[in-house]
């Protein structure tokens, strides 16, 4: 070292090269540090995204008709973590807690928190720059228990073709079979991507799918039931659901429906149900407390249930089918159609899920049931 300083003092060229070499080594180390920094930066981002993927998957997997299933959520979370994380040093934990409002009251929703941790050396394992770092990344996802996946229907359901594809669908009075008239209609999804769904529906089919089906169902029922039909009653109702849903554009097979998009205009079906407890189609009467919904449906009479969510204020409609099998008390049966219009298997719903009033941790605020003679 003393020689070096002496050489520097004498301005020997070799000293500068010597210094240059030292500087290069320092620069090399600085480069490695820079790589390490960016590696950590990217790893943290990836950890955050994996957290999001795990939380989203757990949230949806845990949803069910009768409440959030934590075991299913955890199972899906474990599976997603195992697939996404290749590092043996990574680990994650998940918390599922009840969401509370500003007053500390439970809202009925769940919060999922995922914590992803990783300790690893990104560059030199056991070498000069050995470092171990811990990455904590968490993602919180709101789970709306009442949300379910929507379905997309084929074009054959639209317009006049619709009437030909569904077995019961004729306009001849009396020629209907309520056992086939069963759909589970979902109106809303996780608000994180509900807009995407609505947009895709609007783009693909140029109308509000859910409202169309419900209206169509009642229109058909109205045509079949009662002398002279009652199609004019549908004309007054331009939208269904909360104010965020677009109105129905007029189209073939649905004369008189209002058009345009945006918030509801004029009287709405939902308002009539909620404010007046009335389903404004002829022949429909509210189910009284003493009546058993499934028993009514089992006689072949159409029965429909409208539920209103307590958080997003979404409205859902269930059509009850006759079910003569052994159902647990307080349960109703709903059948599904596939895209070809073929009836699938039945699903059983806990009636309390649909008819509970107030907040019982299920997201349902109110429910209205109607039946038709």
């Amino acid at each position: 070292m003393t020689d070096t300083f002496r050489l520097l003092k004498n301005k020997n060229a070799g000293a500068y090269i010597y210094l240059g070499a030292v500087f290069m080594i320092v620069g090399f180390i600085a480069t490695l540090a820079c790589m390490h920094f960016f590696e950590m930066y990217v790893s943290r981002t990836r950890a955050q995204l994996i957290c999001d993927a795990i939380a989203d998957g757990a949230a949806v997997a845990g949803q069910s008709h009768i409440g959030f299933s934590e075991s299913r959520a955890e199972s899906m979370a474990n599976k997603l973590f195992a697939k996404n994380s290749a590092s043996a040093d990574a680990d994650f934990t998940m918390e599922i807690v009840d969401e509370t409002d500003s007053h500390g009251n439970p809202t009925g929703d769940k919060l999922i928190k995922v914590y992803y941790t990783s300790t690893r050396d990104p560059i030199l394992n056991g070498g000069l720059l050995r470092r171990a770092y811990t990455v904590h990344a968490n993602a919180t996802v709101k789970v709306k228990i009442t949300y379910e996946q929507q379905y997309v229907l084929s074009e054959s359901y639209w317009g006049n073709a619709y009437y030909n594809s569904v077995p019961f669908a004729t306009t001849t009075p009396g020629n209907r079979n309520p056992a086939y008239v069963s759909w589970l209609i979902n109106f809303y999804l996780n608000p994180e991507y509900s807009e995407m769904y609505m947009q895709s529906w609007t783009n693909a089919l140029n109308r509000d799918v859910n409202s169309f089906f419900l209206f169509d169902y009642f229109r058909l029922m109205a045509i079949d039931l009662g002398p002279g039909g009652v199609t004019c009653h549908i004309d007054d109702y331009t939208s269904l659901g909360n104010s965020g849903m677009p109105g129905l554009p007029g189209g073939s097979g649905l004369p008189g429906l209002g058009g345009g998009t945006g918030t509801s205009g004029g009287q709405t079906l939902r308002k009539e149900i909620e404010n007046n407890g009335n389903l404004p189609f002829p022949g429909w009467t509210p189910v009284s407390g003493a009546q058993n919904i499934q028993s009514i449906a089992n006689t072949g009479k159409p029965v429909v249930i409208f539920t209103v969510g307590n958080s997003q204020r979404t409205m859902r409609a269930y059509v009850v089918v006759p079910q003569n099998g052994n159902l647990p008390d307080g349960c109703i049966a709903v059948a599904y159609f596939d895209e070809q219009g073929q009836k699938s298997n039945y699903e059983v719903y806990d009636l309390e899920f649909a008819l509970e009033l107030g907040q019982h941790g299920m997201g349902i605020e109110k429910a209205y049931a109607f039946w038709h003679e």
Partner: protein
Amino acid sequence: MKNLFEKSYWKKAGGEILSFIVVVPCLFILILTMISVAKIGIEDQILNFCTYNCCRAAVVSTSMTTAEDRAVEIYAEQYGIDKATVISEGYISLEIIEGHSWEKGALLQCTITRNVNSLLSMLSGQRTQTIIMMIENGGVI
């Protein structure tokens, strides 16, 4: 200027110039390397987010066809490439790795690739990011 041709001039301090000439390219390469590393890191970051967004849009789709269309659209918009090129070059790959068909609960793997050009050829090349998510929309009634 005249001194440049004098031998005594080089004897006095010419060594410094020589050493400087030797060291500067090395310094330059080091700086380039650091900038390239930074660029690769930023590109990886963007690729991570793009992969996530593509997969997110895919898993909420109702079918594989719709999922691929959406993923291609997101990638094309992110990188300013036309969709036909994205499809033809195979920059996006969607694969159901668990499950038999497009159904809720199946796992979808989204792999995104992109050619990244850094300042150094040894750091340039194809970068790949993969993420796996659960299909949330089975697309059935």
